[in-house]
């Protein structure tokens, strides 16, 4: 059984307040994500990458079809499916440690695991140590750089012990150097922890450097129109011929898709 499964999922939104028009964002999308995978979802901007991630998180429900987590339909957000948002999402009135602890407490309560203080403190300590931020545990979010805030957001999921990390362009608001550094750390974290990661990005080299599998979405309405698997033992270096050719292939496919759409409109 797959960890996450899209079974012919379609999602339509009303385009205006009068609700006379609707726009199709996803069209009978089917995909499955196995445990321990690092799946990147790439595609042209506005194609529905974030929408599909939001459905995995449980913020949105499909109009038709079914999204399943461990075989059960997803109806609401939950700690087993942690999210790192594109925007900074720490509570500004809580310090870093309290932010992580707040999430852990909610998760424990939801899963009826009991909220033992010492245990929570231990999880907070462990997760901040993993992302290398023990020294800012007492700091408030507004004193941290954007990169650090996103690392705390990742620590939050580690502390909650989410089964899957849903990441919605988490590093796109950061500068290039910080982004590359965080990509590397996330990749190492995935290798070490064996968590499942679903990573939405528009940066193809970023996707190729980290993923075990890449899904390319078509222009809106989205469906999966391309899939690349990257062997686990490959050297993660963009200069290497194998990765280089994958990047080229995805770029070509993307360009082809947008051209098809463009000509379709002309006709």
């Amino acid at each position: 059984m797959s960890l996450i499964e899209f079974d012919k999922v379609s999602k339509a939104f009303f385009t205006d307040g009068k609700r006379k028009q609707a726009r199709l964002a996803l069209r009978e999308m089917s995909l499955s994500i196995e445990e321990g995978e690092f799946v990147s979802i790439v595609g042209p901007s506005g194609c529905g990458k974030t929408v599909s991630l939001s459905m995995m998180a449980g913020f949105l429900s499909p109009t038709l079809g079914e999204v399943r987590f461990k075989g059960r339909p997803i109806t609401a957000p939950g700690p087993e499916r942690g999210v790192v948002f594109q925007q900074f999402s720490l509570m500004p009135w809580l310090n870093v440690g309290q932010n992580v602890a707040f999430a852990v407490k909610n998760a424990q309560r939801k899963l009826h695991k009991g909220t033992d203080r010492a245990q929570i403190a231990e999880r907070v300590r462990y997760s901040l140590e993993t992302v290398g931020l023990t020294h800012v545990a007492e700091s408030y979010p507004n004193t941290l750089s954007g990169g650090m805030q996103q690392r705390v957001a990742i620590a939050r999921l580690l502390a909650m012990d989410s089964d899957v990390f849903l990441m919605d362009e988490p590093f796109s608001a950061l500068d290039e150097q910080t982004r590359q550094h965080l990509d590397k750390s996330l990749f190492d974290l995935w290798k070490a922890s064996g968590k499942t990661i679903v990573f939405v990005t528009h940066n193809i080299s970023e996707a190729v450097l980290m993923s075990s599998r890449i899904l390319l979405l078509s222009p809106s309405p989205a469906r999966v129109c391309g899939e690349w698997t990257i062997p686990a033992d490959i050297d993660r270096d963009l200069e290497s011929p194998h990765l280089h050719s994958i990047v080229q292939e995805i770029r070509a496919q993307l360009a082809f898709n947008s051209r098809t759409i463009a000509t379709g409109i002309e006709e």
Partner: protein
Amino acid sequence: MWYQLPLRIEYAHAHPFLHVHANLPYLNAEGQYVNERDLARQLQRELSSGSLGASFAVPGSTWKLHALRAARILAGLAVGIILWQIMAWVMNSGGNALDFPGPFETIERLWQYLFCNQSMYGHSVYEHILASIRRLIVAFALACALGIPLGSLLGYFNSIYEIGIVPVSLLQMIPGLAWLPVAILLFGLGDDSAIFIIFAVSSMVITIGTASGIRMVPDVLVNAARMSGASGLTVFFQVLIPQASASIINAMRLGMASAWRVLIAAEMIVGTGIGIGYSVQMTRDLLDYVGAFACIAVICLVGLLFDRVLLGGIEQLMRNRIEGGKR
């Protein structure tokens, strides 16, 4: 320092939901006043000493800043008093039967009321003030008790907002004194009517402010809490309320300001027998216009004290807390 407060109020009203930094650009790390000239002088010193690093400290002075702010506020007051005096001269040059009180007569009378224990229509000025404040506090407490929970409900549930916002906005449109017939029908003449009128006006202001504060909370914070498994109650009490707390305090301030204004008007007409509004009414009936002006000055002073010092301080505290316990 009390004279720093107006600067903050100006910021808070212009951008109630932005993070406001109380530190102004001309304060250095120690909170001392520095200007461009101090900067240039210090840079010259650092350059000539030859030990200049990437950053350097600029010494300043605390008293200069306080003196500057105090001077600006006094200048504002002075302009007001001069215009008032000119107006009094113009009005009194025509040989009217009634003197238009100037600032100095008014201040003299105020002094007598405040410090020479002169009676204002049977009570000392402090008794009048206390009577008014008591009404204000009772009515304001009731208004908060209704407005904050109601506003929170409106802000939290979209459907309740759609149902409730129209009646609340309609009620808010009713000016304080238009509640008089309702008040008289419900409570007759006297204290309870005054309290009802104040309550009716300020509770609606607080409701609307609270609701909009809750609705302004960024979705991403709510979603971040929900994905961690937070229940609806947790989201409400531990995300929405803390994030909106500065807006709620701001709503309370607006509610307090309108309560104070309508309090005076209510006391003038519902026959309370004591209170500052009652005093204004009496001075007018007895053609004691200097006394009336002195009462108006008292109203200004007490209102300012409440708004700036009490609620303004609390609001700043909340903002600092939301910003993450800085300073």
